[in-house]
């Protein structure tokens, strides 16, 4: 008997095996060995790469080190996207481990945000959580929480403590018994094929006739190009956490179980691999 709770655990403990290599043009004192790591899908790159940084800094001169940034096959990796999203969006069709190139120079100012410290990540993470709750509960739940609860959410993510995080996060996932879902579903839809970073709109989990909206309903409404035409072949994959949920899946359920810790459903639309 599988329980919906197990989905939360599976989502939280999702790991991507990653091979970090130093960019070839970086100046090193000796050869830099690649560094292998299991990255938590739900976390952020700059939050979990202290070891990587330390590893490569050992072979470099102090003066050659400026802000670290990552890149995969030429695309700079936005640290403020969850790791799982970056992988699904950019590398889900390539072989494992995921190859990430580490840079210490030439920060791509127009592509990436600076990340001077973990406080920046915390601020970004908490602002996402608050935005999501504004959509879900008009901010009522997050505002009722104490400062220490907010801290516990962040520390749960920071320290990869599932229990610690969910002890608080479950309150964000509740909704009034008289409703059949959140007010709006916090979601973001990403496509590699467009310039626009992501699509985010107001979308309710329940239709006016009381029917539960599904993932398919959402895509039809906000991103019709993602779904195949009635007769045509499927051109795109709709991916969350490395899986492709059926379009019949109720959106409310997805939001409760497949949201990232920032309480958003990050949905990747990627071209169907042609193999």
């Amino acid at each position: 008997m599988t329980d919906d709770k197990d989905v939360l655990r599976d989502v939280w403990f999702g790991r991507i095996p990653t091979c970090f290599t130093l960019y070839q043009d970086e100046i090193t004192e000796r050869e830099a060995e690649p560094y292998y790591l299991l990255l938590p899908r739900v976390s952020y790159l700059t939050l979990v790469t202290d070891k990587v940084k330390k590893h490569f800094q050992k072979v470099m001169r102090q003066e050659d080190i400026s802000e670290i940034w990552f890149e995969h096959e030429g695309t700079p990796l936005k640290w403020h996207y969850p790791i799982g999203l970056l992988f699904d969006l950019l590398a889900s069709s390539s072989a494992l481990p995921w190859n990430i190139t580490v840079h210490f120079k030439g920060f791509p100012e127009k592509d990436l945000l600076h990340c001077p410290s973990k406080d920046t990540i915390e601020a970004h993470f908490m602002s996402c959580v608050k935005e999501a709750d504004a959509l879900k509960h008009k901010s009522q739940v997050i505002n009722e929480m104490q400062k220490k609860d907010h801290k516990q959410l962040w520390m749960g993510l920071h320290n990869d403590r599932f229990d610690q995080f969910w002890a608080i996060n479950r309150k964000l996932m509740e909704y009034p018994a008289e409703e059949s879902g959140f007010r709006y579903i916090p979601f973001r839809i990403y496509q590699t094929t467009t310039e626009r970073p992501f699509i985010q709109k107001l979308f309710r989990p329940v239709a006016t006739d009381g029917q539960l909206h599904t993932l398919g309903d959402l895509l039809k409404e906000v991103c019709p190009s993602a779904i195949a035409p009635e007769d045509g072949e499927r051109k795109n994959q709709v991916m969350i956490h490395g899986i492709e949920p059926m379009l019949e899946t109720p959106l409310q359920w997805l939001s409760e179980h497949l949201s990232y810790p920032d309480n958003f459903l990050h949905i990747s639309i990627i071209p169907q691999p042609t193999d």
Binding site: M1, Y36, P97, N159
Partner: protein, 941 residues
């Protein structure tokens, strides 16, 4: 409108009618019988009783049901003596029927059944062809058989005359058993279902009814010749079916549908006035292939069905020309059965609450109606105390009818009492009756005006051993300042077991004994129905009914009961997500497990300010800081330590508990504090658990859930309990589960139960019964049966300590008992002034604790009162009319009548309280149970 009534059967087989003009269910007079099925028509009702015999209830009317019997006296002329009885050998019988083929002596004509009586004796029909014969009724002919004439001619060699006698049907307004002995074809097996209809097919004979029945073997039978003059019909004839039939429904006109065992339906075709039995069957598939049809009911032009998943369906396009209809439409609501009555109106019995629902808004243009509305009419006995007091609900539970009658009216006459006794109220010993055989309950319902119901209670309620004060649970105990009040919570009973080893072998029997005496509570807040028939109930769209408002406040809760719709738990999308996540983990992790983790596991500390019941004297609550530290071992196992920091003599100290040593975590909710106790083997031995209290209930639940999760993690007990898990119940009703270890019953070192780890499950039960196959049942204090759903958590365990699904609300009701004690003195009689050495005048059962009405609280914070105090008449030993029990002195054995030597008396007051929680339990309606046993199938089969 004497006969326009809805018929229904309650859970206990009692038949009630609800008049369209009335607002109370009235019990059918014949209380000797319990019924399974009824099917009503305007002129009466047919039913199958629990003896599997068919009964008919014919309503009384001004027109008598009478039937003429006739016989012919035949004579032949003889040259010697003229006409005489001596006939030729080739002739007919001297006494015969009209055809002459059957011998029919007058004294041989018997009544067809005991339900008939003769109106008068035989007499000669003096008339022939409408004119008087004047010759003693004789008619003449040349020979048999021939045309008879009035006049005697020269060639009149034979003559005959007609004798007449009338019989009258006498068994009206009562259940009359359909005789089976006269049937030419003895029925092979008992009946299972029955339906009457067909009264619109033909007017000849008057009051024609098509009565169809299904036997347990699945055969269909038709009762021949049922009509107004012959209400019992004549015989059963078998109608062939292509499959095994389980249920049948016959509409007022020519519709007849049956349900097959496999879940399809059969439709009878070719029914018409010349052939009411029809000619052929045709098959109709169920609405969905996975859930077959369970029940069908048809009207003039409608068919309603209930499938095995309790869903209700309406058949579109049904009419005389197309009895099969065209397609199914799903309706809202979950029902156990539906019944189509007159004017195609529909009634049903709700699956969840077993209430009778009426389909509102059915008109000729809208045959499927608009909505289900619960009928909340109270039963006729509820009316008698509707104005009495606010303690109605509780009073009903403990008052026998006889007692109340004598209490209400000053001088009850015998006739009053007997009429009252004829219709036992719904609150009579309902649960007590159910496990008994029908024979026993016959005895109880036939109790005369003099017999006391309480005596019966005493006999079946509790054995004499239950009455000894020792093991009796005293509700007041919880609030007493005993030295170790909370050690009585759970492990006290098990500890005591070795000392009593000679008497009882198992823990459970020790627990059960005192609990048995808490029985008198009986749940009958609203009636539970099993069958309804509207075939005699004339309701039209505009009819104003008074059925939907509660008259006494007893049933108001029913109106708010909504019909739930079961969600599809095993949706394809969910399965796919589970499956894909598993595949993803395999794909992304399988070959890379040797990779380093990006985030090192660190210690997480939850801290809080709690109160601790300190270890030293004087024991009191002291403020402490509490910290829970978790760490992950090298093998990935997690362990936790609970630190309790306290200050004694201005010196900071702490104690700690390894959570992998904790055996039980128990919420303790008495003393108005939200607290819990942690037991380890050592602390159990010392009888001194770590007891902590939190400021709020939410805090306690958080801590309990967290500590419980930590304990489970350190013991690697996750998810639902295994099939072999050991289940137990504390004396407070909390539920615990322990996973058996291989060495549990090792011969050298058996693991004592105080060293086993007991994990709490949500919910509240009095009895739990598990089997090695994972089937677990429980019974609440109110007798409700519950089945384990496979979930875990619930109750105070929320969030991660609880499974997402399979947790449902649960409630339980029990009674708290206190005693009013009085002593007799020569001046004022019995008063509440006792001797200085006497017990409290308001006390618990032992008399040692003072328990006043105002001061007695519900057993714990979880419970709240739901009734007022009322006298309990059902105590062992019996009581007088005011509930008093007499004795020579305290403490003593009490009896229910006063003698010269009695100087003290006491009476028991009861008050109901209710607990609402949640847990992995689903109610198994509708019968209240006392005990349950599960025997798994043996592995070989």
């Amino acid at each position: 409108m004497p006969s326009s009534a809805l018929w229904a059967v309650d859970l206990f087989g009692r038949v009630y009618t609800l008049s369209t003009a009335g607002q109370y269910w009235e019990l059918c007079k014949d209380t000797q019988l319990e019924f399974k099925r009824v099917s009503a028509a305007t002129q009466g009702c047919w039913g199958i009783a629990c003896d599997n015999q068919v009964y008919v209830y014919v309503c009384a009317s001004d027109v008598p049901i009478r039937c003429q019997e006739e016989a012919y006296e035949n004579q032949r002329w003889n040259p010697v003596g003229g006409f005489c009885e001596k006939l030729l050998p080739s002739d007919r019988w001297p006494w015969s029927d009209v055809s002459g083929l059957q011998h029919r002596p007058l004294d041989g004509v018997a009544l067809p059944s005991p339900h008939w009586e003769w109106e008068s004796d035989w007499y000669v029909d003096e008339n022939f062809g409408g004119e008087p014969t004047e010759k003693g009724g004789w008619t003449y002919a040349m020979d048999f058989p021939a045309t008879y004439t009035r006049d005697k001619k020269w060639n009149s060699y034979v003559r005959r005359r007609r004798w007449i006698r009338y019989r009258r049907y006498k068994s009206r307004d009562t259940w009359a058993k359909i005789p089976s002995k006269d049937d030419p074809k003895q029925l092979p097996d008992p009946f299972n279902d029955l339906s009457v209809g067909g009264w619109e097919i033909t007017e000849e004979p008057v009051g024609h009814l098509s009565v169809w029945a299904v036997s347990l073997q699945g055969k269909v039978w038709y009762r021949e010749d049922v009509s107004h003059p012959n209400p019992e019909g004549s015989s059963w004839s078998h109608v062939d079916t292509p499959g095994e039939v389980v249920q049948i429904s016959c509409g007022p006109h020519d519709l007849l549908w049956v349900t097959l065992w496999e879940g399809q339906a059969l439709v009878r075709e070719g029914i018409n006035r010349n052939n009411p039995k029809g000619s052929s069957w045709c098959l109709v598939e169920p609405p969905t292939s996975e859930n077959g049809i369970m029940h069908i009911s048809v009207g003039v032009g409608v068919v309603w069905a209930v499938t095995k998943d309790r869903k209700v369906w309406f058949r579109r396009g049904v009419n005389s020309h197309n009895p099969r209809g065209t397609s199914w439409i799903e309706m809202v609501g979950e029902m156990t059965m539906v019944d189509v009555g007159l004017n195609d109106q529909v009634w049903g019995i709700g699956y969840e609450d077993r209430a009778v629902y009426f389909r509102q808004g059915i008109t000729p243009s809208e045959l499927s109606g608009k909505m289900w509305k619960a009928i909340v009419a109270s039963r006729v006995c509820d009316r008698s105390h509707s104005g009495s007091s606010s303690s109605l609900l509780s009073a009903g539970c403990f008052f026998g009818d006889e007692v109340r009658v004598s209490g209400d009216s000053c001088a009850p006459s015998d006739t009053d009492a007997s009429s009252e006794a004829e219709r036992p109220g719904p609150e009579q010993p309902v649960p007590a009756e159910s496990p008994e055989s029908p024979g026993n309950s016959k005895g109880s319902s036939a109790s005369g005006p003099g017999t006391t119901k309480t005596a019966e209670h005493a006999l079946e309620g509790a054995s004499p051993a239950d009455h000894t004060p020792g093991p009796e649970p005293c509700p007041g105990q919880a609030s007493t300042p005993a030295e170790l009040p909370w050690t009585s919570v759970d492990l006290k009973e098990p500890k005591r077991a070795p000392g009593h080893a000679a008497e009882t072998t198992g823990l459970s029997s020790l627990e059960m004994l005192p609990l048995g005496s808490e029985e008198p509570y009986c749940a009958d807040d609203h009636p539970l129905w099993v069958w309804v028939s509207g075939g005699g109930c004339a309701v039209e769209a505009h009819t104003v009914l008074k059925w939907f408002t509660a008259q006494s406040g007893l049933s108001s809760s029913m109106q708010t009961l909504s019909l739930s719709i079961t969600p599809a738990q095993t949706a394809a999308w969910r399965k796919q997500i589970f499956q894909q996540l598993t595949e993803r983990t395999k794909r992304e992790l399988e070959n890379f497990r040797h990779y380093e983790q990006a985030v090192e596991q660190s210690v997480w500390v939850k801290t809080g300010a709690l109160q601790w019941w300190c270890d030293w004297k004087p024991h009191k609550w002291v403020d402490v800081r509490v910290a829970l530290e978790q760490f992950t071992g090298h093998d990935g196992a997690r362990d936790s330590i609970l630190f309790i920091y306290y200050v004694v003599h201005e010196e900071k100290k702490y104690l700690h508990v390894f959570l992998n040593e904790v055996t039980t975590l128990v919420p303790v909710l008495n003393e108005d504090k939200h607290s819990f106790a942690l037991y380890t083997p050592e602390r159990t031995r010392q009888r001194w658990p770590v007891r902590l209290a939190t400021a709020t209930e939410q805090d306690m639940n958080d801590w309990l859930a967290l500590l419980n999760l930590s304990c489970c993690e350190s013991r690697r007990v996750l998810g639902r309990p295994s099939l072999q898990a050991i289940w137990s119940i504390t004396c407070k009703g909390d539920i615990f589960v322990s996973e058996p270890s291989p060495d549990l019953e090792a011969p050298e070192h058996p693991l004592p139960c105080d060293q086993m780890f007991w994990r709490q499950m949500g919910g509240h039960l009095r009895v739990v019964e598990a089997s090695s196959r994972g089937v677990v049942w429980g019974i609440g204090y109110d007798g409700t049966a519950w089945v384990y759903t496979g979930g875990y958590g619930g109750g105070c365990f929320q969030g991660l300590a609880s499974s997402t699904g399979n947790i449902y609300p649960q409630s339980d009701v029990k009674c708290v008992y206190i005693y009013e004690n009085q002593r007799w003195n020569p001046v004022t009689g019995y008063t509440s002034r006792g001797l200085p050495t006497d017990r409290y005048m308001w006390s618990d059962a032992t008399g040692l604790q003072e328990c006043t009405k105002a001061g007695t609280k519900p057993p714990s914070l979880q419970w709240s009162w739901v009734s007022d105090w009322s006298v309990d008449f059902s105590v062992p030993g019996g009581t007088d009319q005011e509930g008093w029990q007499y004795a020579s002195d305290f403490p003593s054995s009490y009896h229910g009548y006063k003698t010269m030597r009695d100087f003290v008396r006491r009476r028991c007051w009861a008050r109901k309280c209710k607990l609402v929680t949640s847990g992995p339990w689903l109610e198994v309606p509708p019968i209240a149970l006392r005990d349950v046993s599960i025997i798994p199938e043996s592995l070989t089969t």
